[in-house]
């Protein structure tokens, strides 16, 4: 793979917050915030894949949307290739989006069913590059070839394709503007495993070929392990652990990560891992202060769990954990905060 130089990351998300107002009361005023994303920071090196993992409701899709500014983040910085996206106006942002594209979960719902495949992919080329019809057609045919579709698919409509092929169309559309960063929001969760494997391999092949950077959002840890170089785990809008993929799976430190990994059903009846069964679910009530995971946590608690929010600190060689247990028990000298 590409060498990871110490150059600056292609994407640097700093203290991203996305609060949605909760309205209520007599005058339907804002009474509280729903903290979908709360102080999330991470960075991705060029050509790498960063995995964002979490259960439903953890805020992983919202992070993706904030980066493209499809929703307006409450605060924080999103530095893409040296420029802070949150400071751009709508026109400038539109230009930036040629460098970053998103691929969605439900391939059928993200394609306009009244347009042919040629129109769907060509539209991006018209909007962003103003290519004329002949050039567009040429480029679309190239793109279809790249993603493993045939030129005869050009005049077909989305419903004529299977789920895997629809996702290929979605990928071709995203690639049309030659982006550097792709945000993949659960790209294979609607697909069967045999087709999922095809799509994952295609994504890896494209990454090598075009030097793409991926932000891979998923709830499937097996897929994330296969795809990602670095992984961040989200729980209720907060990053609880960040490390490279190998470390996360071999030495998970946060109790939530440990439970999540132990809960993946392994397709091998001989593996008898000790299973940690969590009680409750992600909506189990959280106090405003204290660790968001505390109500479900299976690990031995320290008093601080209920009273203070654990910061995300470096516990080891770039292994960041937000847990009081790892603040308390290790006397590591360097405890700098993440990013």
């Amino acid at each position: 793979m590409k060498d990871a130089k110490s150059k600056q990351p292609i994407l640097d998300v700093k203290n991203l917050k996305m609060y949605f107002p909760i309205k209520g009361g007599l005058l339907n005023r804002k009474i509280d915030d729903f903290k979908a994303v709360d102080d999330v920071s991470f960075s991705i090196q060029r050509g790498k894949t960063f995995g964002l993992v979490g259960e439903s409701g953890s805020g992983k899709t919202t992070v993706g949307k904030c980066i493209l500014r499809l929703v307006e983040p409450t605060s924080g910085q999103i530095i893409f290739d040296g420029a802070d996206l949150t400071r751009l106006n709508a026109g400038q942002m539109r230009d930036q989006r040629t460098h970053m594209q998103m691929i969605y979960q439900a391939p059928a719902a993200s394609l306009n069913r009244r347009m042919t495949i040629g129109q769907i992919i060509g539209e991006a080329l018209w909007l962003h590059e103003r290519l004329n019809a002949r050039d567009r057609r040429k480029r679309v045919l190239e793109l279809l070839d790249i993603v493993g579709l045939k030129s005869e698919h050009y005049y077909r409509y989305p419903h004529e394709f299977s789920g895997g092929q629809q996702q290929r169309v979605g990928i071709a559309r995203a690639l049309a503007v030659q982006p550097q960063l792709l945000i993949l929001d659960e790209p294979t969760s609607a697909l069967d495993v045999s087709v999922q494997a095809q799509i994952l391999n295609l994504l890896q092949q494209l990454q090598d070929e075009f030097d793409l950077t991926y932000l891979f959002i998923s709830h499937d840890l097996g897929v994330v392990r296969y795809m990602c170089d670095e992984i961040g785990l989200l729980y209720l809008g907060k990053l609880v652990e960040v490390a490279d993929s190998e470390t996360i799976f071999e030495q998970p430190k946060h109790p939530y990560t440990q439970a999540l990994i132990s809960a993946i059903p392994d397709p091998d009846p001989d593996i008898t891992r000790e299973e940690i069964i969590l009680t409750g679910d992600i909506h189990t009530k959280v106090s405003d202060i204290g660790c968001p995971f505390a109500p479900r946590c299976h690990a031995a608690k320290v008093p601080a769990c209920d009273t203070a929010l654990p910061p995300l600190v470096n516990t080891n060689e770039n292994h960041f954990v937000a847990c009081h247990l790892h603040l308390a028990d290790e006397d590591a000298p360097q405890k700098e905060a993440y990013a």
Binding site: M1, S56, Q165, V195, A197, G222, R225, Y226, I277, D281
Partner: protein, 346 residues
């Protein structure tokens, strides 16, 4: 060994569509013994749900039509029963849970109402209605009272904390995992012999999935249930089931004890399916998918329906439907690679 509870023999199911007749099931054979936790795996459109829904006869006919085969439950052929007999049968012997816990509960009624209905229906359905019986039968009010008691016990059984107060809540006040527990409670109301679970954890997060699977396993032990678990997730099968059948395009193509299937898969499709799951050992680029897509059921390929995607395709595959070849006593494969030549190891 345990007695046979359910036997499906050569089941053919068709649907009339605008494009012709879709042959959804083309000869399914399946045998469940009492106390089994039996997994039925396959990808979208392979007919696993259709097989399962054929057992309680929940498939609308028309457009559906069972053209051949029989479903024997405890010695009775379910396909010969009248609708009335079938209703009684469902109430007494079957419980079904579905994939989506949101759409299967009525949002307008509390869980109490819905559970009481289930309990009354399943316990009192078909009881004789003569004068003597009416004299000893509890009043409707008493019946509801008893049913409430039973409903609370059921919620307790499926692990809902504070069942006696939670039962008064509406479905939207429960989370996804809790709703699935409510549905399991509902399915268990009539003390069924067979629980059909159609993708019970697909809509749930992994941590919740682990909770529900553990619950199902504990119920099997506690109540002596037999479970038919339908899923597309091989991990769930490996963790929960003892026996498993793999389906492809309307047919069972391999059946085996779970360990045997994962250690020693014989059918090329099963092998492909197991390899396609990303896991620890698979490194970059090492994931192998199965080329192509599932066949069109209106115009299925002749012979073995997997042959257009199969890496080992031979001449007979294109013309003849393979019959079972036994690997071991419990491990059957439906593939032309095996009957003639056992030495073709893969």
């Amino acid at each position: 060994m345990a007695e046979k509870l359910l036997e499906i023999r050569d089941l053919h199911l068709e649907f009339k569509t605008f494009d012709g007749v879709a042959k959804v099931l083309a000869g399914v054979d399946l045998t469940l013994h009492r106390g089994d936790v039996y997994g039925l795996v396959g990808e979208t459109g392979c007919g696993k749900s259709m097989t399962a829904l054929s057992i309680p006869r929940l498939i609308p006919m028309p457009p559906g039509r069972i053209t051949q085969g029989e479903i024997i439950f405890n010695g009775e052929n379910l396909l010969e029963k009248s609708e009335g007999q079938m209703e009684r049968f469902r109430a007494k012997h079957l419980g079904v849970i579905f994939q989506d816990p949101v759409t299967n509960l009525n949002p307008m009624f509390t869980v109490r109402e819905q559970l009481i209905d289930a309990v009354i229906f399943q316990q009192h359905y078909g009881t004789t209605n003569n004068a003597l019986w009416r004299a000893v039968m509890p009043s409707a009010r008493q019946r509801r009272k008893d049913a409430l008691q039973r409903a609370i016990e059921l919620l307790d059984l499926v692990g809902i904390p504070q069942a006696a107060t939670r039962i008064h809540d509406y479905p939207h006040q429960f989370s996804g995992g809790m709703r699935q527990r409510v549905l399991i409670a509902m399915a268990l109301a009539g003390e069924p012999d067979l629980l059909i679970a159609d993708e019970p954890t697909t809509a749930l997060d992994v941590t919740i999935q682990a909770q529900i699977l553990r619950l199902i396993k504990s119920l099997v032990k506690k109540l002596g249930l037999t479970v038919l678990l339908i899923t597309h997730n091989l991990g769930v099968v490996a963790k929960t089931c003892e026996k498993v059948a793999v389906m492809y395009s309307g047919r069972v193509i391999e059946e085996s004890p779970v360990r045997e299937l994962f250690r020693n898969p014989k059918h090329p499709y099963t092998q492909g399916l197991i390899q396609a799951v990303p896991r620890k050992e698979s490194n970059r680029g090492g994931l192998i998918g199965i080329p192509g897509t599932i066949p069109d059921l209106n115009h299925p390929p002749a012979g073995c329906r997997f042959h257009p995607r199969c890496p080992h395709v031979m001449a007979p595959c294109r013309t003849t439907v393979p019959s079972a070849s036994a690997m071991t006593s419990a491990h059957n494969v439906y593939c032309h690679l095996y009957p003639q030549m056992d030495e073709v190891a893969t």
